[in-house]
């Protein structure tokens, strides 16, 4: 399992209420329509961010929010996160009923202070102050104001998203950043009607953004792009910044990399014994690749993932010596440690920052800023680059997959940061190749021998089962996964071959009850035994957003049936073949006496398409469902 470490998301959440957000930026409307389709109306919200120095900033939010019904109640609860580097200065809050009568004003004792250690951490310093301003009779209005001061200016610069969820309208919202004269503010505006206004005083530069009368966002559309890219937002970032005495500049990726180098400097010293151990380990290695392989295996046997991040520790790795002594660390610590191990055997590698996870938003390359949640290691080789995931004790060396593959990352080199692309896995890399032999008896029950090869992203979930689950649990998992109506697993085996493109071979020996349906004189056979497409998204009238398909795989199924004696063919499906921008499908059924051979190929391709392609996507998937349901019919031979 992979683990991530940065908690920058928590800070984004402060700037607004980052929930499931809609797909399209809402329309601006006359004031009267703000209640329509809304649970919450933001009457006014003012976000002030004042940069005190390169190493300190103060954020203040003042808001008046009307809660229309119980579905909007979450907006009357305030969560103000903080940590060792961030101090909450004050929180005030008042609730008014529908007539404007004051119901309650929070006292100090109403502010609950709770731990917010993330699930992946053993320990960190994240805490949240929670204030409940809810009332039971709707509508009501809450008014609050809070302020915090942070000395973590790596992530302290806010992202402003005035409308971050559906069923929320905004009467007026404002975002203002105040910079001391001479300090530069960098910002990136998205989907805004009105750009920044900039004013200057003798001592400060003031940047202001405003939005007004925003109707609730439309519901997200299926197969749409990530909500974040469609919302109105302003990202901000520093030029010069400082965290705990580590000063840097973020204007270029190169400079950002220099800052990381500063943070990591001197933390890669290994105990002499370990250095020697590494040199002995690779003494007989024939190639640099083999050295990397050996060192990676050593890492996987010696260490495990434990995240403890306090203060700057959220961004700075544990020292290599510490990881060596304790046998654990987080992604930063383990990547830095592996870098040191490789360096001991003369292999150069680069600490790399990345935004890990499935289908993550793309890195905004032209806005250098803290956009990462994970660290991995990049080992350039004469032939090909090897990517190492150092938090996983079972991963194959060099495989990035859906976790860190096919995206941009920041390589930290001695010359500073460099943006690189991790390996892309195409449809043919993500293979599921299955062949089945089914012997049918006269009752229609079948014995099926199934051999399936999974590679690339298609091997990932089964890989976890191989390493995490006991044989008994693996059997349970298989029972859950196999989509046959009624069957028993007589035998199974799962074998994994670790390589740059890992492979799993799954062998199943199944008894399938009523594999074909025999009623009266007929035998009905649906030749697609184990890989029927079943999913189709809802239709959408007047599709607005682009169609994003993340499917990228190749499935090849070959099924051979041996029928019981005494039957003759009555009807057989036509061979089917179709193709669209989303993928390509072929199915062929060959009947030779009592032997039926079925061959199906489905290749899906990732892509982004115009909104009007959506009906074609639905049609494609419905064609898959139809084609996969086709049947062959046999009748009993008349004696």
């Amino acid at each position: 399992m992979h683990k991530i470490y940065f908690l920058a998301l928590l800070f984004i959440a402060v700037s607004g209420r980052l929930q499931e957000a809609g797909a399209t930026a809402g329309k601006t409307v006359p004031e009267a329509d703000l209640n329509k389709g809304a649970n919450v109306v933001v009457r006014s919200e003012e976000t002030y961010f004042t940069v005190n120095s390169a190493g300190s900033g103060t954020k203040r939010i003042k808001a008046t929010i009307k809660i229309l019904n119980s579905n909007g109640e979450h907006e009357a609860r305030l969560y103000v996160p903080y940590d060792k580097l961030t101090k909450v200065d004050f929180i005030k809050g008042t609730t008014y009923d529908m007539l404007g009568k004051k119901i309650k004003t929070i006292k100090k004792s109403d502010i609950k202070d709770v731990s917010a250690i993330s699930d992946i951490s053993l320990f960190d310093d994240n805490r949240v102050k929670v204030v409940d301003l809810t009332h039971s009779a709707f509508p009501y209005t809450v008014e609050y104001e809070y302020q915090y001061t942070t000395s973590n200016m790596l992530v302290g610069y806010p992202r402003w998203v005035p409308q971050d969820q559906t069923k929320l309208s905004v009467e007026s919202a404002m975002f203002q950043v105040t910079m001391p004269k001479g300090m530069k503010l960098r910002y990136l505006e998205s989907n805004l009607e009105k750009k920044v206004t900039k004013e200057s005083t003798a001592t400060h530069d003031v940047y202001t953004w405003r939005v007004q009368n925003l109707a609730p966002l439309a519901d997200p559309e299926p197969y749409g792009p990530s909500a974040l890219e469609r919302l109105r937002s302003v990202r901000t970032a520093p030029a010069d910044f400082e965290v705990q005495g580590y000063a840097g500049n973020m204007e270029t990726w190169e400079d950002f990399g220099h800052w990381i180098n500063k943070l990591n400097a001197g933390r890669d010293v290994l105990p002499e014994a370990t250095r020697q151990q590494m040199q002995a380990l690779v003494a007989n290695a024939q190639s640099p690749e083999e050295k990397v392989q050996k060192v990676y295996e050593f890492l996987q046997s010696k260490t495990r993932y434990i995240n403890v991040s306090l203060g700057i520790g959220g961004w700075q790795p544990f020292e290599a010596g510490y990881v060596d002594a304790k046998g654990y660390g987080d992604c930063k610590g383990l990547s830095n440690y592996t870098k040191a191990l490789l360096s001991a055997v003369g292999v150069e590698s680069y600490y790399t920052l990345i935004n890990a996870g499935r289908n993550m938003p793309a890195m905004i390359q032209d806005f250098p800023s803290s956009q990462f949640n994970h660290a991995i290691l990049c080992v350039p080789m004469p032939q090909d680059t090897i990517w190492l995931e150092c938090t996983d004790q079972t991963e194959a060396s060099g495989y990035a997959g859906s976790w860190t593959g096919d995206r941009h990352a920041l390589l930290i080199t001695p010359e500073g940061g460099k943006v690189v692309k991790t390996p892309t896995y195409g449809a043919a890399d993500n293979l599921q190749k299955r062949s089945i032999l089914v012997k049918l008896d006269e009752k229609g029950n079948g014995l099926a021998n199934v051999t399936t090869l999974y590679t690339g992203t298609q091997h990932e979930s089964i890989k976890d089962v191989i390493y995490k689950a006991k044989p008994e649990e693996q059997r349970k998992w298989l029972y859950d996964q196999i989509g046959l109506p009624a069957f028993e697993i007589n035998n199974f085996s799962l074998d994994i071959k670790k390589s740059k493109l890992p492979e799993v071979t799954e062998k199943l020996d199944l008894s399938v009850a009523k594999c074909v349906t025999i009623s009266g004189k007929r035998l009905f056979l649906t030749p697609n035994l184990m890989n029927k497409w079943g999913h189709v998204p809802n239709s959408v009238e007047d599709r607005k957003s682009e169609v994003v398909s993340n499917w990228s795989f190749l499935d090849v199924d070959t099924v051979l049936y041996q029928l019981p004696p005494g039957y003759a063919l009555e009807s057989k499906p036509q061979n089917i073949e179709f193709k669209s921008e989303f993928g390509e499908y072929k199915a062929q059924t060959i009947v030779d006496g009592l032997q039926v051979t079925y061959i199906r190929t489905l290749q899906m391709e990732k892509g982004r398409f115009a909104p009007d392609k959506y009906p074609a996507l639905i049609e494609f998937m419905n064609s898959l469902i139809k084609a996969d349901k086709q049947q062959v019919v046999f009748v009993k031979n008349v004696p």
Partner: protein, 657 residues
């Protein structure tokens, strides 16, 4: 072998309460801290469960009391775990929660920990550093100590020990003999002063290896103690299954409830004692019994209801509807009101006790025979009937008796019709209490999960299907459907159902009786199926119209725990198919009837031909909410038969005259 034993043991509920303990001699004993054997380090797998990722070698707990000025409850624990695989590494991450309430608190001290490895034949030892023990304040009352042991690898043995000093002298925490990895030895000792009269409750399906009770020699002359020992050997791992209440119900565990406090020179104080005492106390409780007497704030509402409805039955229903609309359940479960029912009424929101104590109080005000019923929800686990343990209940509902008819009412769900309990409450028995009497009452489902689906369709020569489906839902089926319609909104729900899947197209349903809770919830919609575009000599059609059971819900070969559905199922599907002009029936599926043993359920599938029409009926009836593990194979085969039958097709052929 292990599985076999499980099937046997888990097939019956086994829960016993005991006071006197038989004396047995312990042949094993708990590990001594720091003395790890080479054999433990050489161990490659656990022979009784060779696939275990880690195994608890020894878990030892000891509770006793000290009197240094004030009485304190001490708890010492020492745990040793063998890590067998990488997937067992998480067992080296330890969390120790501790509490405080007002001035009373628990304090954890003397945390020690070591990791042992065998390196080149030598035992190496890594110490847990005290600065690596973190203290997390989760909230005002709850904190925890967290640490991870260093240098953990496949084959490591880890151990840790700690001491808890507690001011909560009346709360002896449960001891868990079983966890999600196997446990070779688990031993709990308690030295309990004679002042404390505890009841011991054993839960789960695993027997004690040792139990012992002695009058213990005490270091302190003032304090005479009873010394108890409970131990289990070779406890298998606890495993999750589908269709269960909560895994907690199946865990080998010992719970404690303080019954009597006998401080010298004072009258014995009943701590939980007998039901009479317990109920009396509860009825005097400010946040329970007292709330039943508070009626001033709703006198007008009740008077209005009494004026409008004359029959007590109608009055009950009106009051029930009033509470459902007046107070919204906040999702919290408790037998105690948040503050007062009046406040809940004014704020229009409250926990399960606020809602249902208010309901009971209103019913009483209307002179209806009503009482609160305490219960434990399915997630909270099974109740013990032998002794009056109030802490095991987490929910309260109302009981009413009208014209000799008894009902249980829960006003937390606006979609619930009067007399029906939500799924969460269907958990054995509840305890009915009022000032004069108290008794157990069964928390039975009053309805089934009932669906009735009727399709009428025509097929033409091209294989095109056109027709209409009417779905009628009652009981738990109506409840769950009403809840999802409410959550999604009626329009959205209907819109989503308007969908094309493969060659079938489903129209937008007309929904009726959404608000009429006592009536069936109906959905009516059009259905069309595309044919192959040409006239066919033969037409094949599955009459279940995609509504059949496609996969057996019971796939696994064996079952450890009972299958607990909560309520019975009743699913009927009927379909009339008009035969197109010029075609005749060539074949239809055969009618069958399959039954589960002991009237446990029945599946009927009937095909009838009538002139130009075929009528198919499928009826699945699961008549019990609970099936024991022995019955599992039958249940599985039952569904196999259903799935097979539902796959069968009708064949029509062109007439040649």
């Amino acid at each position: 072998m292990r599985t076999h034993m499980f099937t046997k043991l888990y097939s019956v509920f086994f829960l016993c309460i005991f006071y006197g303990l038989p004396v047995a001699v312990a042949q094993e004993e708990a590990a001594k801290f720091g003395k790890v054997s080479e054999a433990e380090l050489r161990m490659k797998s656990y022979e009784k469960d060779t696939s275990a990722a880690a195994v608890v070698l020894s878990d030892f707990g000891y509770s006793y009391f000290t009197t240094n000025g004030t009485l304190k409850l001490m708890f010492e624990r020492h745990t040793r775990i063998k890590i067998l695989k990488k997937s067992g590494y998480d067992w080296a991450n330890v969390e120790l929660p501790y509490y405080r309430r007002n001035a009373d608190k628990e304090v954890i001290t003397s945390i020690k920990g070591f990791t042992y490895n065998l390196e080149n034949g030598k035992i190496t030892k890594d110490k847990l550093e005290s600065k690596a023990v973190f203290d997390e304040k989760i909230n005002e009352n709850l904190s925890q100590k967290k640490f991870t042991l260093p240098n953990v690898k496949e084959g490591s043995v880890i151990e840790f020990s700690y001491t808890v000093t507690s001011d909560f002298i009346y709360t002896l925490n449960s001891w868990e003999f079983q966890t999600t990895i196997p446990t070779m030895w688990s031993e709990y000792r308690a030295r309990i002063p004679e002042y404390f009269d505890y009841k011991f409750l054993q839960n789960g399906y695993h027997n004690f290896y040792t139990t012992k009770k002695d009058a213990a020699a005490s270091a302190n002359a003032e304090l005479r103690n009873e010394a108890y020992v409970w131990a289990m050997k070779d406890v298998p791992a606890l495993q999750e299954e589908k269709y269960i209440t909560t895994l907690k119900d199946y865990q080998a565990r010992l719970d404690f409830e303080l019954q009597l406090l006998k401080v010298p020179g004072e009258f014995p104080k009943v701590m939980t004692g007998n039901w009479d005492e317990v109920i009396k106390k509860l009825m005097e409780e400010e946040r329970f019994g007292t709330q039943l007497k508070r009626s001033g704030f709703f006198k007008n509402e009740i008077a209005a209801i009494k004026a409008k409805h004359t029959s007590p039955q109608a009055q009950v229903e009106a009051i029930y509807e009033l509470v459902k609309s007046a107070v919204k359940w906040n999702g919290k479960q408790s037998i105690y009101t948040t503050s007062t029912t009046r406040k809940a009424f004014d704020n229009r929101t409250g926990n399960s006790a606020d809602v249902n104590m208010l309901l009971t109080a209103m019913l009483l005000e209307a002179d209806i025979d009503a009482s609160p019923v305490l219960l434990s929800t399915r997630r909270n686990g099974r109740v013990t009937k032998g002794s009056p343990l109030i802490t095991q209940f987490n929910y309260v509902i109302a009981y009413v008796k009208v014209d000799e008819k008894e009902y249980l009412l829960d006003a937390t769900d606006p979609m619930l019709p009067a007399g029906m309990l939500p799924y969460r409450c269907l958990n054995g028995d509840g305890y009915l209490i009022n000032r004069t009497s108290h008794r157990w009452v069964p928390l039975k489902p009053t309805g089934n999960y009932t669906t009735f689906c009727m399709g009428e369709l025509a097929i033409d020569a091209k294989g095109e299907i056109k027709g209409k489906i009417s779905e009628s839902n009652t009981g738990y089926s109506a409840l769950s459907l009403r809840e999802s319609i409410k959550e999604e909104g009626k329009e959205k729900f209907a819109e989503k159902r308007n969908k094309e899947i493969g060659d079938m197209k489903y129209g937008e349903p007309t929904i009726t009786n959404l608000e009429e809770l006592d009536k069936a919830l109906n959905l009516v919609y059009e259905i069309t199926g595309s044919g192959n575009g040409q006239a066919n000599d033969l037409l094949y059609l599955n009459p279940m119209l995609n509504k059949g059971e496609k996969e057996n819900p019971f796939k696994l070969a064996e079952r450890m725990y009972p299958v607990d559905f909560g309520y019975p199922y009743d699913e009927t599907f009927m379909c009339k198919i008009a035969i197109p002009e010029g075609y005749e029936v060539d074949e239809t599926p055969k009618s069958i009837a399959v039954s589960l043993p002991n009237n446990g359920g029945k599946f009927t599938y009937i095909v009838e031909r009538r002139d130009a029409e075929i009528q198919v009926m499928s009826k699945i009836n699961i008549s019990k909410p609970l099936y024991f593990a022995e019955e599992y194979p039958y249940l599985k085969e039952f569904y196999n038969q259903i799935v097979a039958k539902h796959a069968e097709q009708i064949v029509l052929k062109k007439k040649y005259e």
